[in-house]
Amino acid sequence: MSVGFVMLCHTALDRAAQVARHWAERGCPVVIHVDKRVKRRHYERMQRDLAEVADIRFSERFACEWGTWGLVAATQAASMLILREFPAVRHVFLASGSCLPLRPVGELISYLDERPRTDFIESVTTEDVGWTVGGLNIERFTLRFPFSWRRQRRAFDTYVRLQRRLGVRRRVPKGIVPHLGSQWWCLTRQTLSAILESPDREAHDRYFRRVWIPDESYFQTLVRQVSTNVESRSLTLSKFDFQGKPHIFYDDHLQLLRKSDCFVARKIWPQADRLYQHFLSADLGSQALAEPNPGKIDRLFAKAVERRTKGRAGLYMQSRFPKANWENGMSAAPYSVFEGFAELFESFDIWLGKVAGTRVHGHLFAPDRAQFAGGETVYNGALSDSAGLRDYNPRSFLVSLIWNTRGERQCFQFGPEDNQKISPFLARDPNAQISVISGAWAVPLFRANANFSDIRREAARLQKIETEHLEVLRAATTKAKVRVWTLAEFVENPMEPLQTIIDEISPRSLRRLTEAPRMADLTGFGQFLQNLRNQGMQPVLMGDFPAGDDPRPQPTRRGRPYLVK
């Protein structure tokens, strides 16, 4: 009879009774505290249920509102009772009504027998605590909390703010170094009795009565004064979410709990029949004396918290719709936007797909339809190529495409003829790699079979649109990786910019570009621009193309080598 349990219960009394009976029948005395707010008939039914079990006692009842002194008072009363009634108890284990033993009592007893002088209680100084929610660490000890956090939240918050502003402080009594920790502990008789029978207990109680959430600090602080051997961890597996509310275990956690090798877990969903049935059955155990190892469970719950607070990057859905600048990734993955390349080079998309090994679309925002790679009419995720659906919400269209094709980089063409509604989004998205050859839209016009006055009008229109687009890309708020060349610059030396872009798209392919895409024949382009000028239009985005001095691009010329062997 080396370990006794103190159980604090407030709901699901039938489950608590089941666990208490389990322990008591295996030789461990149990003292049960039932919240005073529980209805009398429920309490009496529990007492009746457990009447025939010898080593179970019920302690004086206190009202236990979360965060208040009642929980500590209840623990004190129950602890005194267990120490008095069961002199053979060496360790007292504080548990709740929703706790469930995961390993046979025998294993816990032998584990504690090997460590007869050790107090298992998480006890961390306020400076080092990382887990408190709501930003109250040391202030739990120095402010006053007359209002209920649950029922009078506004008054609670206002009063805290007021005290902060006025600089009001309670003095921490001499000899007390505030510590915090999980309220579920396992202390030795010596330590526990030293705390409870301390000559200063009056003073301690008076002080902690006004501390915020004293059940996480009373024993955790005082144990430091009396114990010689504090092992700062809890034997109870208990995980908290981002609001400081305990995670709940269900039937499907069975394997996870079995492998955790923890002694006790909380909290268990009262209707998790399989868990109760499995862990309270007689023929459990025969495992080696393993140390508790909650690593896997830690990871599971850490992931849940991350999902709730940060979410999946680039996902917009029914329960995640971030405000601007809170997206934590505006799109799911990096992608590339090419402007003017398809106009300047012949079959640019085929060439790019080959050298970069990515998916290359045509003009996704073309006026008639979304030109998906391979001429598909429906794409990943059943995304339709209909211009109507796309233009109804271009942002949803693009983020859906990037989300649906996670794992495969997307490239697409863009230009002044396309729907421009998407360009502010592109500019703000850090995942966008935008490469622009400005003025390249003039090449198809140059080669078009159309009346010159129509060409002139079209050129003026496209130039206006592209100028506005470039302004968006050059705004101070732009987060995309933007590169802009004029057509003249690019034609002069196409390989180096192409190499840079390709290196960025597939950084691991160390091969140099050997084959350049075939450039459109620009003989006479300078004269074409001059003709536009002569007609009163001022083409500026192409850069400097002197009339008659045709560029002589050398598509197979290799750029400056990065590495000289």
Partner: protein, 336 residues
């Protein structure tokens, strides 16, 4: 959001409640077993019309999830729906021959039943072709979810409508009574949804899916809304505004996180597109009782006549809720 809007919405809420109260007279009870409802029971509310074929599986599905009591409004069925429901021990039925359209597509009746019987309960409001899936629904009953929502102080739970369809023309696979409709209609669109925020009510407006892709490409703003909030911890002063798409007070529509995180959510698998659909579409066209002058049904009829297959090579075959989670259609949030 100014005081003026708040006040206006308050008035709107009172008006909808008054309207539901007046419309209660259109409902006449067939069998009421509502006295059997006990504190903490899960209640399901639904409006039906000629759904005899679908109901056996529907009832089984929600009983298995742990729904304790069903409240049905029968809108003038003539196929034995009413009698079938009246025989069920956990069902209360009201009947009405009044206009579906003029009770705002049944929602006034539903609001009344909720006002009367829903207070303090978790209520599920779905149509007979909608099947709720939520995180861990294969291992945890609905009660586990509502207990967790209670513990987290969450009052409403979002479940987007996911249109399910068969592969091949819908007339090809006949549905028979008692069968799981998802055996036939087990394909869905995984990633073609658009969403915007409704600035007044604060809900998300989600559209897309196969119906938008097939029938509303030229008219996307008319595509049906897919956002739904079918699970609510009901209080008698709550009210559904427009189907289960949005509620008042407006805080109940805040089922999504705006600071980058994911809240927990589920999906309503919408098995509308069975072989019974063509008949239904014709009937509903004749009745002219549906939203926006039955525009939706007209679009279906035209769409169904020209190209009856909603399946495409990028359609996903439904496996389980985990698949929907991975695809980003629903989320576990911080429930683990």
């Amino acid at each position: 959001m100014g005081i003026w809007t708040t006040y206006r919405l308050r008035l709107a809420r009172k008006r909808w409640r008054l309207r539901a109260f007046v419309k209660r007279r259109e409902l006449s009870p067939v069998v009421t077993r509502a006295a059997n409802i006990r504190a903490g029971d899960l209640i399901l509310v639904s409006t039906v019309r000629n759904e005899k074929v679908r109901l056996p599986y529907f009832l089984r599905y929600y009983r298995d999830l742990g729904v304790n009591h069903f409240l049905f409004v029968d809108n003038g069925s003539d196929d034995g729906t009413r009698d079938y429901l009246a025989q069920q021990a956990d069902v209360s039925v009201w009947t009405t021959k009044h206009s579906y359209k003029r009770s705002r597509f049944g929602i006034d009746w539903v609001n009344w039943l909720l006002m009367r019987y829903g207070h303090g309960h978790w209520v599920v409001v779905v149509d007979p072709d909608e099947f709720l899936v939520y995180p861990f629904c294969d291992t945890r009953p609905l009660r586990a979810l509502t207990d967790w929502l209670d513990a987290s102080s969450i009052k409403s739970f979002s479940a987007m409508m996911l249109d399910m369809y068969p592969k091949g023309p819908i007339a090809q696979h006949p549905y028979h009574e008692g069968q799981d409709p998802l055996e036939i209609a087990n394909w869905f669109d995984s990633g073609n949804y658009t969403m915007t925020k409704n600035p007044v009510y604060g809900n998300l407006w989600i559209q897309g899916g196969p119906r938008a892709r097939k029938f509303f490409a030229d008219n996307p703003e008319r595509a049906p809304a897919l956002n739904k909030i079918p699970l609510v911890k009901w209080q008698r002063d709550y009210v559904f505004v427009s189907s289960t798409h949005m509620l008042l007070p407006r805080g109940l529509n805040q089922v999504y996180d705006e600071w980058g995180g994911e809240k927990a959510s589920g999906c309503l698998l919408h098995a509308k597109f069975l072989d019974t659909f063509a008949v239904k579409a014709q009937e509903e066209m004749a009745r002219q009782q549906h939203f926006a002058n039955s525009h939706e049904y007209r679009a279906y009829q035209e769409g169904m006549a020209s190209s009856p297959d909603m399946w495409c090579k990028w359609s996903e075959k439904y496996i389980n809720w985990r698949q929907l989670e991975i695809l980003g259609l629903m989320s576990k949030g911080n429930w683990a």
